[in-house]
């Protein structure tokens, strides 16, 4: 199947938002999606964007059942390791189910790695849900190491009420 991987344009945000929701449904967390294409347009295409995005596009004749030509995306941003410096963090990688098995996921990942290399990044990190075996297997074939397993890292979050509490209250030591 013919496909093209390119940098996302502002006009792509509606389709990217659609695919973000599809991925969230798959991750059984669709109720957690709070932003729409408007925030993506604002945050990804301003002077100092908070993320970058690649999209996978198929020709009109191969469009999806519902008529979409954007069939996959990779959303990433730059992070910093105090040990090694510049890094890339792959936040989302998604290919619509009917377009899988055609090398699109691999193509998106390679392109992210290439972008990272150009910016002198020394590593790429991402998070995967423990039950997502296809994804864990895919990343393992690319040489990824599970740092939660090997080094015991846990992912922590403060948001909503707990973030406000941090701002307002004295800690209970």
């Amino acid at each position: 199947m013919h496909f093209k991987i390119r940098a996302a344009a502002k006009e792509d945000c509606r389709q990217i938002s659609r695919m973000i929701k599809e991925l969230a449904v798959f991750e059984k967390m669709s109720d957690q999606v709070k932003i729409s294409h408007e925030e993506l347009e604002r945050d990804g295409f301003c002077q100092n964007p908070f993320f970058e995005c690649l999209v996978a596009e198929v020709p009109e004749q191969n469009k999806s059942e519902e008529g979409f030509t954007l069939v996959g995306y990779a959303l990433y941003f730059y992070t910093y390791s105090t040990w090694m410096g510049r890094s890339v963090y792959l936040e989302d990688l998604y290919v619509m189910p009917e377009f899988r098995g055609n090398g699109i996921g691999k193509g998106l990942m390679s392109k992210v790695a290439e972008v990272g290399k150009k910016k002198q990044c020394v590593r790429l990190q991402l998070s995967v849900l423990d039950w997502n075996t296809p994804a864990r297997d895919f990343y393992a074939t690319k040489g990824a190491q599970d740092l939660t397993a090997s080094e015991g890292w846990h992912f922590i979050r403060f948001d909503g009420q707990s973030l406000d509490d941090l701002v307002n209250e004295a800690p209970k030591d």
């Binding site: 992070t79 846990h154 922590i156």
Partner: protein
């Protein structure tokens, strides 16, 4: 009781920041993994498009430890969650042993959370090693959620050699 100030790091602070980075890495038993130099920190933190932001805590000379007045730091940057938008990501957070229990860590976390709210971030994320029970308790006391336990997220990494194979 130590008196201290919190301020934004300046280019002159890079040697102190590197010193503290190495101390924290030593505590995490990963000292040999620090390959970053002062030059990298300068270029990456104080250029046109910084890769990170840094807060430092400073004590007066008379309270200094071995001549060091910069005794704590927090390094952070902004990340993006496609579900909720901007986030503040706390990369490193460290207070020198002699200066713990004085409220410096709490104050740093408070300033970071204020920054997160001011810059319209939906939350603050970071990683903790599961054997670092003191830190986990510190964060849990303040209402943090452990997403690895609660939602099953696992952190993966692909190192440079493998990345190059993909390009």
């Amino acid at each position: 009781m130590a008196s201290f100030i919190l301020r934004k790091a300046e280019p002159n602070d890079v040697s102190d920041i590197l010193r503290l980075i190495k101390e924290l890495a030593k505590f995490e038993q990963m000292e040999e993994k620090v390959v970053l130099s002062e030059k990298d920190l300068l270029e990456d933190g104080f250029g046109d498009h910084p890769f990170y932001h840094c807060l430092v805590a400073e004590v007066p000379k008379e309270q200094s430890s071995e001549g060091h007045t910069v005794i704590a730091f927090a390094m952070y940057y902004f990340t993006y969650d496609p579900w909720i938008g901007k986030l503040l990501y706390l990369e490193d957070f460290y207070v020198m042993q002699d200066f713990r229990g004085l409220g410096i860590g709490s104050q740093i976390l408070k300033v970071l959370s204020e920054t997160a709210v001011k810059t319209c971030c939906s939350g603050m994320h970071f990683l903790v090693a599961e054997n670092n029970t003191k830190s986990i308790e510190f964060y849990k006391r303040r209402g943090a959620a452990d997403l690895s336990s609660e939602e099953g997220w696992r952190l993966f990494e692909i190192e440079k050699e493998e990345l190059l194979k993909m390009t």
